[in-house]
Amino acid sequence: MRHPNQAALALHAGGDLAFFARWRMERHLARCERCRDEVAAFSDFREMLPGLAEPPDLPWNRMAAEMRANIRLGLAAGECVRPGERPLREHPLFTGARAAVAMASMAALVVTGLMLERPTPALSTSEGRVVENTANGIQVREGTGAFRLMNPGARNVTYSVGAAGSVSASYVDAKADGVTINKVYAE
């Protein structure tokens, strides 16, 4: 036997059920002693609280609308926290693999920027004009500017500095028909 829920029994005790629901409830109560006891308990409770028997004038329609809205909100919230179910938003922007892709893209941007900047050494503005050898050449630099003479591909490059503010790079040309000596000057 299926029993009415507690809310329906309470409404019946107060005479608040609609006609068809009340007819079905009375048929059930005629056959179910347990539910009759429940309805009797609700009726006793109402008599213990006289104020409830004659409630003041209230805007029932507005309250009903608010309650329905609250119920819908509660149902929606329940859906959100129910385990094993998809979240409310069907395609969240930054979760799971998408967040990983976004982070990887940002990392790629940073690495690309570093690679593009790699040939340009960190330039200090505090040292004034400096001459020095680099990985594949010699340079004079000052602030964010640099003047470089390169020796790409040259083998056995000999670097030599002059205390007067110069640095040179010498190497034998590929055909050994001469020697190239690059030199940059601080002044």
């Binding site: 900047e117 030599s160 503010g165 020697v179 000057y185």
Partner: protein, 385 residues
């Protein structure tokens, strides 16, 4: 379903990023008038000058100019050319940027052409404006008879003469070996030279000229004055009397050496080689200490001070090299008549110099010929000079 959806998203994101990076680092060819050449009214004629492969690239807030220049020149004089120096300046792109490209150990006869490659890079903070970025001028040409032509703004006469004097010394040395010991002896001498070049310790030196204050460095050790020790060469026209430098960790500042002219001719330029030793006893060739006074005049028997208002900072393999000891030797002297003295081979056989001093550029060239073309090609090359 979900992974299938993320793949196009990732691809699109990557494409956008790469596209942005491409725009950011966009390369553009240089305008036609970016480089100006000037070898007019000289014993050389300009055959061609190309820089088609030169590019400018925006990198962040900086503009990088990669200049790949080939200058082909023809000797229009009756003398054979032994060396040439081109002056490369960039006033506009890098305020006062100045460099030189020298070709030494040449053997270019009348009517013959040769090419001077110039590969340079300019980094400047803003966009390139119109007009020449770089000017290439002839600074000087040295001929077989050691006569010179040029404006000599970079003292290329002295430099080219020193190179050629060293080259003549070393060619003569190897010719004598060939004459006395034959090809086997010459090959053995070349192998020894190649081995010596391999074993030279590399030292990175950063030089800041002017205002002898320190090159910026964290954690400088306390500064102290250190004295030079000297190698004495019997035939040197000048004699070092004493010298000092301020040392702070791996930094040496304001080197100064007193010299006396012991020759019978007036001297106008003196240059010292400078060897440093670290606390572990490793020795390195630190550089050259030239006389700073452009108008130096040192009559026979007189004294002068060779001094530079500069700071040198030493490192090797990315690690600072602290200076424990210093040794100097006279490496070059120019007389007022333009002749240049360099140490002879016997002086350079000093054990310390054999460990740290690179052979002359001519000896390096001869060893490359031996290594790449063999002993017969080397013998033929020695006969050309």
């Amino acid at each position: 379903m979900r992974s299938k959806r993320t793949i196009p998203v990732a691809a699109a994101t990557a494409a956008v990023l790469l596209g942005a990076a491409g725009v950011w680092a966009q390369e553009t060819p240089l305008p036609k008038n970016s480089i100006k050449f000037n070898v007019d009214n000289s014993p050389l004629s300009l055959v061609s000058a190309s820089y088609d492969q030169s590019r400018s690239t925006a990198r962040g807030a900086a503009m990088v100019l990669d200049l790949d220049i080939d200058v082909t020149l023809r000797n229009t004089s009756p003398n054979r050319i032994r060396g040439i120096t081109l002056r490369v300046t960039s006033q506009e792109a890098f305020m006062g940027g100045k460099g030189s490209v020298t070709r030494a150990s040449l053997n270019v006869g009348q009517g013959e052409s040769f090419t001077v490659p110039i590969q340079m890079q300019l980094v400047r903070p803003t966009q390139v404006s119109a007009g020449p970025l770089v000017q290439v001028d002839l600074d000087g040409v040295l001929f077989q008879d050691l006569s010179f032509y040029g404006t000599d703004r970079l003292n290329s006469r002295r430099y080219l003469t020193a190179c050629e004097t060293e080259a003549q010394r070393d060619r003569e040395h190897f010719k004598q070996i060939l004459a006395r010991q034959g090809k086997d002896g010459l090959a053995q001498a070349m192998r020894e030279s190649i081995d010596r070049q391999k074993d030279l310790p590399a030292l990175d030196v950063r030089v800041r000229h002017g205002n002898g204050a320190a090159v910026a460095s964290a954690g400088l050790a306390s500064e102290h004055e250190a004295q030079f020790a000297f190698l004495q060469f019997p035939d040197s026209p000048v004699r070092p009397l004493g010298g000092s430098v301020r040392i702070a960790g791996n930094q040496a500042s304001e080197p100064e050496i007193d010299v006396r002219n012991t020759s019978s001719k007036a001297v106008r330029y003196v240059e010292f080689g400078w060897v440093v030793s670290d606390p572990a006893g490793r020795q390195y060739m630190a550089g050259a200490l030239p006389s700073s006074d452009a108008n130096l005049y040192l009559p026979p028997g007189s004294q002068a001070s060779v001094r530079q208002d500069s700071s040198l900072k030493f490192s090797a393999n990315g690690q600072p090299v602290n200076v424990q000891k210093m040794t100097g030797f006279v490496s070059q002297v120019e007389f007022v008549d333009g002749k240049v003295w360099v140490p002879n081979r016997q002086s350079l056989n000093n054990p310390l110099l054999q460990k740290v001093l690179a052979p002359s550029v001519e000896e390096q060239r001869l060893s490359v010929i031996y290594r790449s073309k063999g002993i017969d090609a080397l013998v033929e090359d020695l006969k050309k000079f």
